[in-house]
């Protein structure tokens, strides 16, 4: 059970594909920085590979003006929620 961190916009399709290949059945994905744009409905094609186990960092959403635009399939977490994800997952792998 791993937590995957990703910080690239969904236009960086290569990193989404490589992460998709490595993503396990119980893994979680947290979108931070420019990966927040993958939380928009327009990116649902890229995100559906991660089976609903996707969250996005609230402060990075808000600064980008995306707070009201998040796809309903994606969970919004704050900085405490980010920390909690790293507490409950033994390993955290960062993709960039």
């Amino acid at each position: 059970m791993q937590l995957h961190l990703l910080n690239r916009s969904p236009q960086s399709t290569a990193v989404y594909r490589d992460l998709g290949e490595a993503f396990g059945a119980d893994d979680q994905l947290l979108l931070i920085e420019d990966a927040c744009y993958a939380a928009l409905p327009a990116a649902s094609g890229v995100i559906e590979a991660f089976g609903g186990r996707v969250s996005v960092l609230e402060e990075d959403l808000v600064s980008r003006g995306l707070a009201g635009r998040v796809s309903p399939a994606i969970t919004v977490v704050d900085m405490k929620g980010f920390l909690a994800l790293t507490e409950t997952h033994e390993r955290c792998v960062s993709w960039f």
Binding site: L40, S63, R64, L66
Partner: protein, 128 residues
């Protein structure tokens, strides 16, 4: 929205193409800085928002954590510097599920042919 035709495009002295989204890196900020300085030096400057650069125009952006200013305050200064030729790739917008109504500034949408034409007529182009 109706896209601008190639024949409606006026050449500028300098064209800055912005391809990076706000906040994630300094590309956007440093690109806009070049546009502002060139305008302050009396050059006519045009901006093209392309690819993820269209996110720079999204309404409702805010300062980030740890005092990150973002680039929306810079964009608000464009008018003061007489930078009024603002173009956006229509394809980049629609691929991202956005329309002109989602944007904070009045920009002219360009179809693919018009983007190529815009690039052709500019004497100087810098990409950020």
């Amino acid at each position: 929205m109706t896209n601008i035709r190639a024949s409606d495009i006026e050449p500028q002295d300098l064209m800055v193409v912005l391809r990076h989204p706000p906040h994630g890196s300094h590309w956007l900020r440093e690109g806009i800085d070049v546009a502002l300085v060139a305008a302050a030096f009396g050059q006519r400057v045009g901006l093209l928002f392309q690819g993820d650069g269209v996110y720079a125009l999204l309404e409702g952006q805010q300062a980030g954590a740890l005092g990150q200013k973002g680039t929306h305050p810079q964009l608000a200064m464009l008018e003061m510097y007489d930078i009024e030729s603002l173009w956006v790739s229509a394809a980049a917008l629609s691929e991202r599920g956005l329309s002109i109504d989602d944007l904070m500034l009045p920009v002219k949408p360009l179809g693919a042919e018009a983007v190529a034409e815009l690039m052709q007529v500019q004497p100087h182009t810098l990409i950020f």
